[in-house]
Symmetry: C3
Subunit: 189 residues, 3 copies
C-alpha cells in the first residue's frame, strides 16, 4: 500500500494482465451465412493456445458503422484487453476495416502494422496490400488481421511475442490508482 | 448472368483489368521547361514494357492545388486504373506531392509505400526521406514515386509484381453491377 | 550573385547547414526530479560527437500542451535545425509524445520512423511498440526517440547517416532568397 501525493490511500495493482479477447470477423458473405468463418475460428484457437480468454466472437458485414459499434462495445463496455478483427483490410471497394478502426482508436501503433507487413512481405508480394491498422482505445488494443486464415495466423504470430508486454503497458494506469496517474506513473517507459 | 437481390439483371464483369495509366511529373523546373522530364519518360517506358497503357503524361509544378486537380481528373473523369506521380516526395520546402495525394485518396495503402522505402533503404540511407504515399480514389490506384529517374524506377520495380492483383481488387466493383455491391461482392478478399 | 525574376538582387546561400539542436526529455518522473535524465544526456553527447550543437535541453512531463509548446518554441522562435525528443513514444496511457508531435508538424517523414523501428525490431520484438513520429515544421526536423537510453541511442544511430542531407534539404529555401522560391528552387530533389 502506498500513499499518493494527494494523501489518498491506494493499493497498487499487481501486474495482472487482462488477456480477455474479442475476435471479430469482418465479411459480407460471412455475415450473410454464405461462408464459414474459418479465420475467426483459427485466430480464436491460436489465441486460446497462448493463454488468452476468447470472451466474444462476432461476424459483421463490411460496413463502417457496424464495425465501429462492435469495436467500441468491446473496448468501452466489455472492457476487453484485446480486440482482433480479421478481414476487410485489403483494397477491394468493400474493404473498410482500417477506416473503421482509425475512427475509434485514440492512438495508433504503426510499428505493429509495419512489423506484420514486413514479415508477410517475405512470403508474398501481396502482403503490401494489407492496410491493417493497430491502435489503442482506452485500455484496449485493437488489431486488424487479414481475412484469409493463413495470412491472419501468420500476422498474428508476428505480434504474439510482443503482446503481453504491450497489453501490460496499455493497461498500466487502469488500476484503482489511475485517477492519480499524474502523481504515480509506474508504467512509464 | 445473375439476378441481383433487387431483381435487376446484371452481367458480371469478366476479370478485365483496367491497366490505363497517367504519369505525372511533379517539378517546378520541369513545369517551366528548365529540366528535361527524364523520370516521367523512364517510368512511362517501364510501365508500357509491362503491358500498361500510358494514356496521359503531364508535368506540373510543386503546387498542391495543381497536383490535386490532375489526380482527380485522371481518377474521376478519365477513370484510369493507375496514376503514377514522380517527384516532390522529399523533405525540401517545395515537396508537397504526398500532401496533395493524401488530400484526394479515400483509403491509403501504407504497405506499398513501406515496401518501396524498405527496398530502397537497402541501397541508400536517403531512402528514408521519401515521404511517398500510395492510396485509392474510387477505382484508381495513386502511387507517388521519387523524382530521380533511378529512384523512381527502383521504387516502381518493387510494386510491379503486386500491381495486377492490386488493380483487380481495387476495380472489383466497378462493373455494371457496382451499384448493387451491397448484394454482390465477388472481390471479397 | 544572381538576379531574381522579380529584379531583386539576392545572394544565394552557401550550403551551410543549421546543425543546432534541442533535446527534450519527455518524462513525468524526470520533470518532477524523481529520475535522472540519462536519455537526454546520452542523446546530447552523441549529437555533439557528430558535430551538432546542442543549443537547449529541457525536461517536460507527458502532457501534450507542454510538449507542443516546446516543439513550437524551438522551431518557430529559436529556429533550431533539429529538435529531438526522448520518451513518451510507447503505449502506456501517459505516452503522448507522438500525438503532440503530429499536432505541430506540417509534413510527416514516415520513412525515418519506419527505418528506426525496422532496425530496432532486429534486436527486440518490443520495438514494434514504438509509436515515434518524425516530421518537419518550417525549417526544423522534429524526431521522436524512445525513452530508454539504449533504445534512444540505437534509434538515433539509424538516422545519423541520413541527417545532414535531410537537414540540408529541409533548409533548402530558408536563405534570404526564400521569398523568391517560386523562381529559384536549388534544392529540388
Amino acid at each position: 500500500m502506498t500513499t499518493s501525493a494527494t494523501g489518498e490511500n491506494c493499493i497498487r495493482s499487481l501486474p495482472f494482465i487482462n488477456k480477455s479477447v474479442a475476435v471479430i470477423t469482418v465479411s459480407d458473405r460471412g455475415a450473410r451465412g454464405e461462408r464459414e468463418d474459418r479465420s475467426g475460428q483459427v485466430v480464436a484457437e491460436q489465441l486460446e493456445s497462448q493463454g488468452y480468454l476468447v470472451a466474444a466472437r462476432s461476424i459483421v458485414p463490411d460496413e463502417i458503422p457496424e464495425i465501429r459499434r462492435l469495436l467500441c462495445r468491446y473496448s468501452d463496455q466489455d472492457k476487453l484487453g484485446l480486440v482482433i478483427t480479421t478481414g476487410g483490410t485489403g483494397v477491394s471497394p468493400r474493404d473498410v476495416t482500417p477506416e473503421a478502426t482509425l475512427a475509434v482508436v485514440e492512438r495508433i501503433v504503426p510499428g505493429m502494422a509495419e512489423a506484420m507487413r514486413a514479415a508477410s512481405l517475405g512470403k508474398t508480394v501481396h502482403a503490401m496490400m494489407s492496410r491493417a491498422v493497430v491502435g489503442v482505445r482506452g485500455a484496449t488494443l485493437i488489431v486488424n488481421l487479414p481475412g484469409s486464415p493463413k495470412a491472419a495466423l501468420e500476422n498474428l504470430a508476428v505480434l504474439l511475442p510482443a503482446l503481453p508486454h504491450a497489453l501490460e503497458k496499455i493497461q498500466g494506469e487502469t488500476s484503482d490508482c489511475a485517477k492519480l496517474r499524474t502523481h504515480a506513473s509506474p508504467s512509464e517507459p
